[in-house]
């Protein structure tokens, strides 16, 4: 047991130094790619023909994408190592903050928000905020081709557990691929349909898992998607939290 524990500590330390290097060293060349291609575009555009300008644009976009990927990965690593700071959180209050943050993206759109009464749950509020931010930002994104976008957040009880759901009437997905949704870098839409990195839902999955909950999704193409997650009661959570702690929970 003690042996296993020191192995875990060692693995955790390695992971930490790995992500430290990533944040320092991987971002630097990305900044340079993005920066110099931007300078090319801004200051030498006259010298470039259409094809060359197009190539420069591709370099810029890819540098930006990879920057988001790296940040997403680092965030995942951090969540893995982080100790949960659980306390009772009013999900309706939390959601208000998330909706305010999303306003810059959703303000120009006509979206009908249906926010139900949500419970107070024992959770880490900053991580739970990431869950709602990711899920709602997804709903905003995937409903952008809808004439009348409806995004609903609600709850029900199943087997004595609280289930929270986020539902939209957007692009949806094929149910047969639902299991792939939560994989790292997995996407069910082409980049030219909907931009994205495939990190968001993987992060959501990790956070819910870390809280001892489950997450699943239902969808239909062009009809919409619904994401469900349940949260354990505080007693169950304390039981589960004990052997994890070190973060290497997979």
């Amino acid at each position: 047991m003690a042996n296993r524990n020191s192995e875990l500590i060692e693995a955790n330390r390695e992971l930490e130094s790995f992500s430290y290097s990533v944040s320092h060293d991987l971002r630097a060349p990305l900044r340079h790619l993005g920066g110099f291609s931007k300078l090319l575009h801004d200051e030498y555009n006259d010298l470039l023909d259409d094809t060359a300008q197009h190539y420069v644009q591709i370099i810029q976009n890819d540098a930006k994408n990879m920057g988001e990927l790296v940040d997403g990965l680092l965030n995942m690593g951090r969540i893995g190592r982080q100790q949960l700071g659980c306390k009772p959180v009013d999900l309706n209050l939390l959601l208000e903050g998330v909706l305010r943050d999303l306003e810059s993206e959703s303000a120009q759109r006509h979206i009908e928000w249906q926010i139900g009464k949500l419970p107070v749950v024992e959770c880490d509020s900053s991580l739970m905020k990431q869950v709602f931010t990711n899920l709602l930002a997804n709903s905003v994104k995937y409903t952008r081709n809808c004439n009348h976008a409806v995004i609903e957040v609600g709850q029900f009880t199943s087997d004595g557990r609280v289930v929270i759901f986020v539902r939209d009437n957007g692009a949806g997905f094929e149910q047969q691929y639902a299991h792939k949704l939560f994989g790292m870098f997995q996407r069910l839409h082409r980049a030219d349909e909907f931009e994205g990195t495939g990190v968001g839902l993987a992060t959501v999955h990790r956070i819910i898992q870390k809280h001892g909950g489950r997450i699943w999704a239902e969808g239909e193409v062009d009809k919409g998607a619904t994401f469900f997650f349940d949260l354990t009661t505080s007693e169950e959570l304390h039981e589960k939290a004990r052997p994890i702690g070190m973060g290497a929970s997979q």
């Binding site: 944040s23 320092h24 900044r31 920066g35 110099f36 920057g67």
Partner: protein, 161 residues
């Protein structure tokens, strides 16, 4: 360039980063005299007028722009040395780095860093940050010891941001 008139000491080992920062300053119409030190040891030699800079007469820079991951002597140790010397202990130091690791932020704050800024991947954001830093630390901010001021941005009013 006369080294006793340096306004900004910029400590950065990566030549691409130096070039990008200089481009950002040029585009922000910052026309300040800058000394670029390529590692932590050179930065301290310059600051404390020793080694190749022994002939320099000590004049405090208006601020130090400091990368953390540096050859020879790392940024955190450079900051510590700055804070431990009575000549430089009050010089504003701004960390400009790739990482936003909590431990770096906490460590540098404990050493009384004046600001901690992560270099964004997006160049436009980076340029805005460089411009804001120049405007704030050269013009807006009052710091001890720098009585001759107002030489900051060459034409900050005309940049339109």
């Amino acid at each position: 360039m006369r080294h006793d008139e340096i306004e900004i000491l910029y400590v950065e080992d990566d030549p691409s980063d130096v070039e990008l920062t200089m481009a950002a300053m040029r585009r922000s119409k910052m026309a300040n005299t800058i000394y670029i030190a390529r590692d932590g040891a050179e930065a301290l030699d310059f600051l404390f007028c020793r080694g190749p800079h022994a002939a320099r007469e000590y004049v405090s820079p208006k601020f130090v722009l400091l990368d953390l991951k540096l050859p020879k002597i790392g940024g955190i140790d450079v900051l510590r040395a700055i804070r431990n010397d009575p000549r430089t202990e009050l010089v504003p130091v701004i960390v400009l780095t790739s990482s936003n690791e909590q431990r770096d932020i906490i460590e540098t704050y404990k050493l009384r860093v004046n600001s901690y800024v992560q270099k964004p991947v997006d160049f436009e954001k980076f340029q805005q940050i460089v411009q804001q830093l120049g405007l704030y630390w050269l013009i807006v901010n009052q710091s001890p010891g720098t009585t001759t001021s107002q030489t900051g941005l060459a034409s900050s009013a005309s940049t339109g941001r």
